[in-house]
Symmetry: C2
Subunit: 120 residues, 2 copies
């Protein structure tokens, strides 16, 4: 994933309504939800909802499929997975660390040295 794409995905999620939509879809799973039902559950008017869904889709965070007159949206788990991976990529210079193993704090090997003269 390149930075530009990651920024798009993060921007898509960085909005109250869109985050709520995404989490609703994540909770529902692959089954998905029709656009109308999303708008109903979250009290978002059609035009606004469509705008937000387009953003999420453009960012690769949701999939959409037509089902008759309905458009079913579902979370795209690979998309969010790739984003998460990107955020923690090359963590601590590639060494095992706090981000991957938050509990094993003893002896953080090579990468936990203080700055050359940091004491405060």
């Amino acid at each position: 994933m390149e930075t530009k794409h990651a920024v798009t995905a993060l921007s898509a999620l960085a909005h109250f309504s869109r985050l709520a939509i995404f989490r609703l879809l994540v909770a529902r799973g692959p089954q998905g939800i029709a656009a109308g039902e999303i708008g109903e559950q979250l009290a978002i008017p059609p035009a606004t909802l469509s705008f937000h869904l387009k953003e999420l889709h453009r960012a690769g965070l949701v999939t959409q499929r037509q089902n008759g007159r309905f458009v079913i949206y579902a979370a795209h788990f690979d998309g969010i997975g790739a984003l998460v991976a990107f955020l923690t990529e090359n963590c601590c210079g590639g060494n095992p660390c706090l981000a991957t193993k938050p509990r094993s704090r003893r002896a953080p090997a090579k990468h936990a040295r203080r700055t050359t003269s940091a004491k405060a």
Copy 2:
């Protein structure tokens, strides 16, 4: 984590420079980097850099500590961890699913049924 906080964190990361800063800090690990060095590496002028670092700090994504005249910034791994957890929270209604086990696609139990009459 509440939605409002998550939006703040996502907004903080949803910017080219800030994402670059964050990833630079993630790669460096707990050791952290002085503000000046960040600006140098990413070619961001002091005022702009300070603005972005403040955003990241406000969002709980980086920590800052004073070291003499320098201010050392480091990624706050708990912060990003909480955000990631929030994004996939209650995934597929709490059942094991695609998000947690992307490879086990057979028999996705209760949550992978099609919509009532979805065929397309």
